[in-house]
Symmetry: C2
Subunit: 194 residues, 2 copies
DNA sequence: TGCATTTGTTAACATAGGACAAGTGAATAT
DNA sequence: ATATTCACTTGTCCTATGTTAACAAATGCA
C-alpha cells in the first residue's frame, strides 16, 4: 500500500489512523485509456486527480486554432484545473491522458469535507495552489528571457520523464517553439556529445 | 464616499449596513511615493492593496539579471502577491509605485476575519484569485502564439491606461520584447494611419 | 502482413526581432 | 541658461527561429 501515491502526496505517515483512513477512503481509483479526456473545454471540473501511473497533458486551443500545451503531469502530480474546480466555472482547457493512466479521483464535495476537517490537508492544498501559481509565472518569465535551448534544458532538468514520454510536438508547443526548432536543438545537443 | 474604489470592488451597495461598515473600517488608507516599494523580494506579503489612485508595477529579476515586468496595476486593481500572502512565504517579486499612489491596505489578520465572517467577501476573494490565475495563463499563451505586434494590440485593447502611463521599456519587458521593437511597432501603427 | 497515418528529421529559405550604437528630445538639476 | 540625464527613436546588421516541404521512421489499423 506504500506504493500508493496518496501516501507520498500527503505524507500519510504523519496523520492519525483515523485521518489517514478518511483520506484513503475519500479517493476513488479510476483508469483512463490513452486519449481519453479527464476534462474538456466548457465542462466544469468537479473533481481532481492524482496520477498514480501514466502521463497526462493539459492544453488549450487559442483563437487561431493553435494547440498549445500548458502542462504535463506524471506521477505523483496532481491534475487540477484550479479556476474551474474552485469557482465552478467552465474550463478553458482540455486535459487528456497521453497514455493509459491510473489515477486517484477526489470530487469537490468530498474535497470540501476533507478541507474543512483536516488542518494538514488544507495546508497542503493551499501550498499546491501557490506552487502551481508560481510555476506558471516562472514558465511565463522563461518564455520572455530564455532562449529556446535554455527552456528545453530547464525542462530536461526539472521533468526528464516528460522528455522521455511526451511527443516532440507537444513539448515544443509547451516550450513556445516549433517542432523543427526543438528537433534541431536535440540534434545539436546529441551531436555536441559525440 | 462613492468615489472610494472599495465601493466599486465589493459592490458595497449590496451589503448590510453592518457588513459595509466592517469592510470600510478594515481597510487603511495609505500613500506611496513614486518609486516606493509596496513589497520587495524576500519579504513576506502580510497585506494587500486596492489602488485608488496611481500606477503600480510588479517585476522580478531573473537569473541573468533581467528586469521583467509581470503586471501593471491601475485603479481599481487589487495588488496582491498570492503565493506570499497566503503561504507566508518570501515573495520573489518587487512591487513598486510608478507614480504617487493612494491605496487601501488590508492586512492578513483583518483579511482573515472578513474572509471568515462574510460569505460575499469570500466569494470575491476566490474569484479574484481564479481570474488572476487565468489571466496569467492567457498571457503566457499569448507569448507563445502571438506575434509581438498582436501582444501589444491586445494590451492596448485591455488596459489602454497602461499604455498611457507606463514607460516603454517596462511595457516591452511585460510583452516579451525589447524596447526598440516596441518603439517600431508604435511607429508602424501611427504611420499606418497618416 | 502490409497499407495508412502520425510523428520526427532535415534542409533551404524567409523573416521577426535582437544587438548595438548614434541621435533626438524632454525633464531635471546646477 | 546650460549641463546632465533619461526615455525614446532610428538605422544597420545579424541571428534565432519560423516556414515549408520532402523524406524517414514509427505506430496504428485492416
Amino acid at each position: 500500500m506504500k506504493d500508493n501515491i496518496l501516501y507520498e502526496n500527503f505524507s500519510l505517515e504523519n496523520y492519525s489512523d483515523e485521518e489517514r483512513q478518511l483520506i484513503l477512503s475519500s479517493f476513488k481509483k479510476i483508469n483512463f485509456k490513452k486519449g481519453e479526456f479527464l476534462l474538456k473545454e466548457g465542462q466544469k471540473a468537479n473533481a481532481y486527480w492524482m496520477v498514480q501511473e501514466g502521463f497526462v497533458r493539459s492544453y488549450l486551443i487559442d483563437f487561431e486554432g493553435n494547440d498549445v500545451s500548458t502542462y504535463f503531469y506524471s506521477p505523483p502530480d496532481v491534475v487540477i484545473d484550479w479556476p474551474s474546480f474552485f469557482m465552478h466555472t467552465p474550463t478553458k482547457e482540455y486535459i487528456q491522458a497521453l497514455t493509459d493512466c491510473v489515477c486517484w479521483e477526489l470530487d469537490f464535495e468530498t474535497f470540501q469535507q476533507l478541507f474543512h476537517s483536516i488542518e494538514e490537508f488544507r495546508e497542503r492544498g493551499r501550498a499546491r495552489l501557490v506552487k502551481s501559481y508560481f510555476d506558471l509565472k516562472r514558465h511565463s518569465t522563461s518564455l520572455i528571457t530564455d532562449q529556446a535551448k535554455e527552456r528545453y534544458l530547464r525542462l530536461v532538468e526539472e521533468k526528464p520523464e516528460i522528455i522521455q514520454n511526451v511527443s516532440l510536438k507537444h513539448i515544443a508547443s509547451y516550450l513556445g517553439m516549433k517542432a523543427p526548432s526543438l528537433s534541431r536543438i536535440r540534434k545539436e545537443m546529441s551531436g555536441g556529445n559525440s
